[in-house]
């Protein structure tokens, strides 16, 4: 049961080369992640959405603004950082790159479990690993745990990544384009799984994507990002069906829309 709040977040990058200058990747972004609610961050490439993920995971430091965990500013070192890492987790976009080809699935899940439960013994850790695999419907768990990443399909690897993210029992989950690199017919299954796990664990989820359609079905609220700023926010249906900002209107009009097309062709 954790709340993550972002206030006035900004991140500037210095551009190298002759022209120099600054790139404002993120500019004055504010939003809140609450338990049990999904927020979708929608934007095209270059909008800054991936930078926000990196800032929330403390892989980068913001230039301005603050991040508050349960009302208190987050800690960036020592035990505070370890606590933060336990609470905020991420599912990466590329299922082929987020697992180390050298190690078994067991290793991938074991490490976070051990890190956050130093007192557990080997047998307990192993049992926990199997339990995690069963939660993401990767059964028979013993069989899967012994495998290496290249022996699993993209969708299966992504489920391992989800299991890994759940291992430390987090309160907040950041999903960065979790299904965009998966085969089409698997995508809904993985999103459905994420939604179920969110309900079971009462997680606050940030769903980062460029796909408006899945954002609408998966999220409660949508934030539309353009060039580092949030240009529109609101409940999912509102933003999609009744967009106010020019950019949102452009996005909604540009996305392939079979219903609209069919009525155009017939009407």
């Amino acid at each position: 049961m954790t709340t993550l709040e972002v206030r006035g977040l900004g991140k500037n990058y210095r551009l190298h080369g002759l022209r120099g200058g600054t790139l404002r990747a993120v500019d004055d972004v504010s939003f809140t992640l609450e338990p049990g609610r999904t927020v979708a961050l929608v934007g095209q490439s270059g909008s800054g959405k991936s930078t926000i993920a990196k800032l929330l995971l403390q892989l980068e430091r913001p230039t301005s603004g603050e991040i508050l965990l349960d009302g208190k500013p987050i800690e960036r070192r020592g035990a505070g950082l370890a606590r933060y890492r336990r609470t905020v987790q991420m599912v990466f976009q590329d299922p082929f790159a987020s697992l180390n080809p050298f190690h078994s699935i067991e290793h991938h899940l074991e490490r976070p479990v051990r890190l956050h439960h130093k007192e557990m013994r080997n047998a307990e850790v192993h049992a926990r690993v199997l339990q995690l695999l069963e939660r993401v419907r990767l059964t028979p768990a013993e069989n899967v745990a012994a495998r290496r990443p290249h022996e699993l399909s993209g969708g299966q690897r992504q489920r391992v990544a989800i299991a890994r993210a759940l291992a430390p029992e987090p309160g907040i989950l950041i999903a960065d384009e979790p299904v965009s690199m998966l085969d089409v017919s698997i995508r809904l299954g993985v999103l459905n799984l994420l939604a179920t796990l969110q309900r079971e664990e009462d997680l606050g989820v940030l769903y980062i994507t460029h796909d408006l359609a899945t954002a609408r079905h998966f999220a409660d609220d949508i934030l539309v990002m353009y060039q580092g700023r949030i240009v529109e926010r609101g409940p999912a249906d509102e933003v999609i069906l009744n967009p106010q900002h020019e950019y949102t209107k452009t996005l909604a009009a540009a996305a392939p829309n079979p219903e609209r097309r069919i009525s155009e062709l017939r009407g």
């Binding site: 890492r85 976009q93 190690h103 290496r148 384009e177």
Partner: protein, 322 residues
């Protein structure tokens, strides 16, 4: 965001493929003719160097029979001073292999430290290590060795090995640095950080295992460089003239006018072993390259032989795709 299309992996493989899969799981290169040949030749020479000296005569014992060809008493003949060539060869093999081993180990330590650790640490550490590596790379090796030679006339094997290591590690370090930089930003390394892994553990557990094939290749390369380099140095008289190595044998053979006198038994064996060992190590290195660069795996003649295409079909396909 392109969909990654997996290559068509043949389903339910037969016995051969299961064995190959097991080898690949252990991280070993697939056994090919190339690898087998390299390991066999290298292995034989290695055994000769390790065990040979126990079974031969004293290589330094001088005799007044002078330069003689192969005979019953001296299987590879004698040198100008009546020393047994076979015995010298055995000790020389051991000497050269020792230099190879020492240089291999030292290069590994130095290049791994300045290359991998520097690149992983990032920031000013990376800049400093990189600068140091580049300076070492630029310092010319041969003049350095000549300068050292003039100060220390009686060099031991260890000193020569040390000098070769100092002049040889920088190239390796650069290669390792480049590769580590690319590994550092892989998602699985970031995932380890997000999970709360300590940085040194991430280096040891996530990055290092993926570096092993490259490290192995660099070490083998360093050994080749050391042995051939030492041979060259010794031939010029700048090596460990007091010890037995392939290079020093060639040096003495040259000084004793072996070529002009036609005493092939003196210079051919060390030269031959030198060439063979270098070739054997290179073959092993090519096999390691196939792990590092999977694209090479499918392009080799061995892979092509695995295709069930007739000559005609191959020609037709090749014609169409130029």
């Amino acid at each position: 965001m392109a969909l990654t299309t997996q290559a068509a992996e043949p389903a339910a493989p037969a016995g051969n493929q299961v064995k190959r899969a097991r080898r690949r799981r252990l991280g070993l290169p697939p056994m090919t003719a190339k690898l087998a040949a390299g390991l066999a030749i290298g292995g034989v020479i290695l055994i000769f160097g390790l065990v040979g000296p126990f079974f031969v005569q004293d290589p330094s014992r001088v005799d007044d029979i002078g330069l003689t060809g192969p005979s019953g008493a001296h299987l590879l003949g004698t040198t100008q001073t009546g020393q047994d060539v076979l015995a010298q060869l055995a000790y020389a093999t051991r000497g050269s292999l020792t230099i190879g081993a020492i240089v291999g180990a030292l290069t590994l330590l130095l290049s791994a430290f300045f290359g991998v650790v520097g690149a992983y640490a990032g920031g000013w550490v990376d800049e400093a290590f990189s600068l140091f590596t580049n300076i070492m790379l630029v310092i010319p090796g041969l003049p350095l060795v000549i300068v050292i030679s003039s100060y220390v006339p009686d060099k031991s094997l260890w000193l020569v090995a040390l000098v070769l290591s100092i002049t040889g590690w920088a190239g390796s370090a650069r290669v390792l640095r480049g590769y580590t930089l690319s590994l550092r930003n892989r998602d699985y390394v970031l995932a380890a950080r997000v999970a709360g892994e300590k940085r040194w553990r991430t280096l040891a557990v996530e990055i290092l295992p993926n570096l092993v094939p490259l490290l192995a290749s660099q070490v083998v390369f360093a050994v080749i460089f050391a042995i051939l380099g030492e041979a060259g140095l010794s031939y010029l008289g700048l090596g460990a003239t007091g010890s037995f190595t392939w290079g020093t044998m060639l040096y003495y053979a040259q000084n004793g006018l072996a070529l002009r006198l036609g005493a092939w038994w003196w210079f051919v064996p060390p030269g031959l072993l030198l060439a063979l060992f270098g070739a054997a190590l290179s073959l092993v290195n090519f096999s390691i390259d196939e792990i590092i660069n999977p694209k090479l795996r499918n392009q080799t003649r061995a892979a092509r032989r695995g295709w069930r295409m007739s000559r005609q079909q191959l020609d037709k396909a090749r014609e169409a795709t130029l």
